[in-house]
Homo-oligomer: 350 residues x 4
């Protein structure tokens, strides 16, 4: 990969969706990256500002069809393609290209689980074996050496960051973990669906995918690894009338003799040097609006009134730390760059 | 109380807040009620349409100061006053007046619990003993004969309706119940507070009052009565950028040998004749937008992926079934009227 | 048409859209109407609550395909079908049926104008000649005797109500009228379009159809008739992140010697007996949230700082007075009922 | 002022409001500025993250009371104080300090007009004479040499940018200009007012300050200067349920023989080299969501259907180009820096 004087030459596949737009937004101002290729099926031939007027005025290539890509001009590819098609595309990429994949295709190590949740056999099982799960603060060393990074889902990012250190330390029970999660509507993507219409979403809230959301096995994979045993979670996502943000409210039972204060202490210690994770004072609860547009994850720990229980609350921007921001964070690692490069922008509030 | 030919003569104390407005909206079109008195401290002297332009064109009395009320002209009073001041006002009302109180002042039977949660001794303990808790579908018979009805809080209404029949029937464990609740902003009232500003609420979600919200003891009082033993719940409210609505997502452990289907069956049977409660098909999740402006409570039951667990989801309009609608439902009972009178309006969507 | 003891038997064609749902909401509680038929192409066979969960619990017929309609069972039909297909459907209805059409198909008297704006020749020109334009407060007498009522568009309703009396009275210039209008997103219908997605609409505002919106000729037709000469308007609609509501801010030049106060006086006098129109005190500006869910139109008149100019502001709910509410108001007239029947519900705020 | 190696040492007075927060957000990442002082009356003593959690993790001074400021440590001060108090504060600042004032105090050259609109005599008339109006693209040269820059209001920025070049070129009539403007709620500031509550603003739109808004004389001052004669405008602001953004829809009459295309051409030419102004293709209308968080102004020009008329539409973020972003742009000029420094971030969408 070209470093030193030269900037990393990146391509974005699936640039016409919201995560694609967010990759452009971040990478266009990244001091060590150079966007050389943007692909989009239906928008091939268009300029970026025709698809995303908020990105006008940047010096960017036209969108092309993926079949017209010249991979030799790139060092790194971000895949923001739909689940399912991604694995075939990535399997066909030349070996010199490093890949950060934002789809779910390479997140589940267990190919049988993939088949169960996604309804078809995996098309690139050999790549799956090499893929590194890109939850940066947990998998940093492996990501550095990865060729293919499976960028985590938005719910799994918000859910695992507070839980993994606590399960590893044995501070909480791996039983009866309840994750009640809330997401902004951009998480549903830019596809024209009745369920994503303004009038169907505004002025209301509802749960969806109850006990059946595909992010559940991804969360459980990470928690099981941390706990050293199989972990099942009650996971319920909700749709909130806001563009961006994920809030995960997680209810846990303390291990014998532990306290919420100890949970908070261990999390604060574990993440003390992390530029993008902030553990709030004990009893404080974060808000998604305070990470809007930023790559931060805020974590709060509260002692429950019910003895022996605690509540963990984590907030991220689903399109940034939950998708494109973490993808760039992983690119930085894979390219040997400072991890925060291009991601230092504070949140936008109000 | 005047019945027969005559309509019930009602007064609304604290008519300038959102629950007051909602009482006016409902009662102004109620075929057996006649609004005779509206009190509001700072808005005394104003016409209703000056305070609430959406209520113009109705033939209503001017707002007056509560000290100027002539109680002899009324049969029934709705108290929508702030917590704390309510008990003194009600203690001073003549005995012929029936009262539906929308504050929290008479909801907790245990005066010590009241003192703990509200920070001062109760000012009308003798009234507290007579007060009937107004969760209509659960306390209907007692409400019929009540002189003072303590109308439930919005969160307690949404939380208790699905849980009480299940605890009574012993279908779920009274341990480790987690209630993750989400509310629209009107629940915070019309007071000018920074935390209720549009720019502080829109485009975000956060938890508040975590493990410390005053509705927790009210919920636990009802659940304990149903379970026949002390029940503690993990209860976390969240603020959602919408005007109206409460969604309570409740995580329960099944009693041995029980199933989500059985939970759903028992709830459907229990509420089969209830005009305002609808139990959805197994696996369906309700949305708050489908009860906007109506007195309905929608309840969904979903089997969790974690064996032995289920998820209950309930949706109400916090200002209607969670406050003023249920108050009118209780008035109907107390006055010997059909319970649905004035409350038949379908929800407003979108 | 069956009157007297019997309720009017109504059918709603195109019941699965937002105006269809709103017709059901209003008519299901209408004391003199009985919904006998609901048609919907793709939702044929479904129960109403499957398509619109907020309308569950009402005793309504299943949705059917329009081809399966038995017209002999109906007295009145509401057409909430897409523009273009409507004219053929209505042309095929038996003569005993009265029709309120919510599409644009019969609003323009000038068939050439129709062809210009809608891009094809009119398919039922003979019906067009008989159609009565349903701006109730302006055309009341003609509507009473109509067989086919062309219900006005939402923008034209909000725009014409303040302007027509002033043009008729010669109080304002017919030149240089500027109508800057703002609409909620439900006006775009329930079709799944990228431009109506929550994430494309929330947190922003934009103009659309600038100088090319099809409601412009409809507005001009009414204003020209009122002025007795051709009137052209500058009309710009905007999309606002809210579900419901239209606000029209109209800038006019006063006729010589006239004043805003006189404009206000004439409007107040003209609409003094109108149950659904309220002229605010001089200088007051209405808000759409104060007519949410109601059939009201609020009108404000403000003297501009620029000498000789005034500003008119009108607010309606686009789905009620701007569509289904006015349609029921017209049905009431056509059926010889009290005009306000079924429409007395106050607005829902907040 | 310290340049060269040293960064500009800046202070922000009134740092606890929304424009203060936005100044911190931009300046904290500005490569040539160093935030040395933050003042806030009620929040004195607090850390920035206590007042604005979205700004945590930045290395910033604690907020202090303005009386405790050591002006000798600063080169430049941003004043984000309330109107009225500002002029006394600025009058008391030492001469070496350059000032960008975000209040309205120094925007009106005509002291009599100030007194009329603000209800009291100006307290620092001598400073008023030296103040340079900070509409950057129009007053760039004067701003470079200014000691005190009166940063424009949000509405005046959006309104004047399209109009001034057209009036200067004589392409439009200075008569009968209508500016219909729409603003997000952050423009009302962070003060706890009932009118800014979520439940009072969401799901609705209304006009306010009709024919009486204080930004009208500021707009007219700029337009009159451009036209070389007195210009009065019809200016109506509206409150839109969104956090950020101003859209100004402006209706103009063309000078004889002119066309919308010519207007567009002249604007495009005038702003061709401007990094923050983009003139869209003829007929295109901009959206505020495409400038959210950025310093850009998008301008659209549309030919009206009414002969001889055109419609101009401009979009900015009220807190950025309409306040803090333009303030930093002006600071850059006053400090001899590249004008775009710190302001290159693309907009955040969705």
């Amino acid at each position: 990969m070209a470093l030193g004087d030269n900037r990393i030459r990146v391509g974005i596949l699936g640039a016409s969706g919201y995560t694609g737009a967010e990759l452009i937004r971040i990478l266009a101002r990244h001091p060590a990256a150079d966007i050389r290729l943007l692909s989009a099926e239906r928008s091939a031939g268009k300029r970026v500002e025709e698809v995303f007027p908020h990105l006008s005025g940047l010096d960017l290539p036209r969108m092309i069809h993926i079949d017209d890509a010249d991979w030799s001009t790139l060092d790194m590819v971000f895949c923001a393609l739909p689940h399912g098609t991604t694995q075939q595309v990535i399997a066909g990429l030349p070996a010199h290209l490093k890949v950060v994949d934002l789809s779910a295709d390479f997140r589940l190590h267990d190919l049988a689980a993939y088949e169960t949740w996604y309804g078809h056999a995996h098309q690139a099982p050999e790549l799956q074996r090499d893929a590194v799960y890109g939850l940066t603060e947990i998998k940093r060393d492996a990501i550095r050496g990865a060729r293919l990074c499976a960028n985590p889902g938005c719910y799994p990012t918000a859910s695992q960051l507070p839980l993994i250190p606590l399960l590893e330390a044995g501070l909480i029970s791996p039983e009866d973990i309840v994750i009640d999660a809330k997401s902004g509507v951009s998480g549903a993507g830019r596809a024209a669906k009745e369920s994503s219409l303004f009038a169907e979403v505004a002025e209301g809230i509802h749960a969806y995918g109850v006990a059946s959301h595909r992010h559940a096995p991804e969360i459980e994979q990470g928690l099981s690894e941390a706990a050293g045993r199989a972990v099942w979670v009650s996971f319920t996502p909700h749709l909130v009338p806001m563009n961006r943000g994920i809030l995960a409210t997680t209810y846990v039972r303390l291990a014998d003799g532990e306290s919420a204060a100890e949970l908070r202490r261990v999390l604060a210690e574990r993440y003390a040097e992390e530029p993008f994770i902030q553990v709030l004072p004990l009893g404080s609860a974060p808000a998604t609006r305070h990470v809007r547009g930023s790559n931060h994850c805020l974590i709060g720990v509260v002692a429950d009134r019910v003895p022996g229980r605690a509540i963990l609350i984590s907030a991220i921007d689903n399109l940034v730390k939950g998708a494109s921001g973490q993808a760039v964070q992983n690119m930085n690692l894979m390219a040997g760059l400072a991890e925060t490069l291009g991601l230092e922008q504070p949140a936008l509030f109000p």
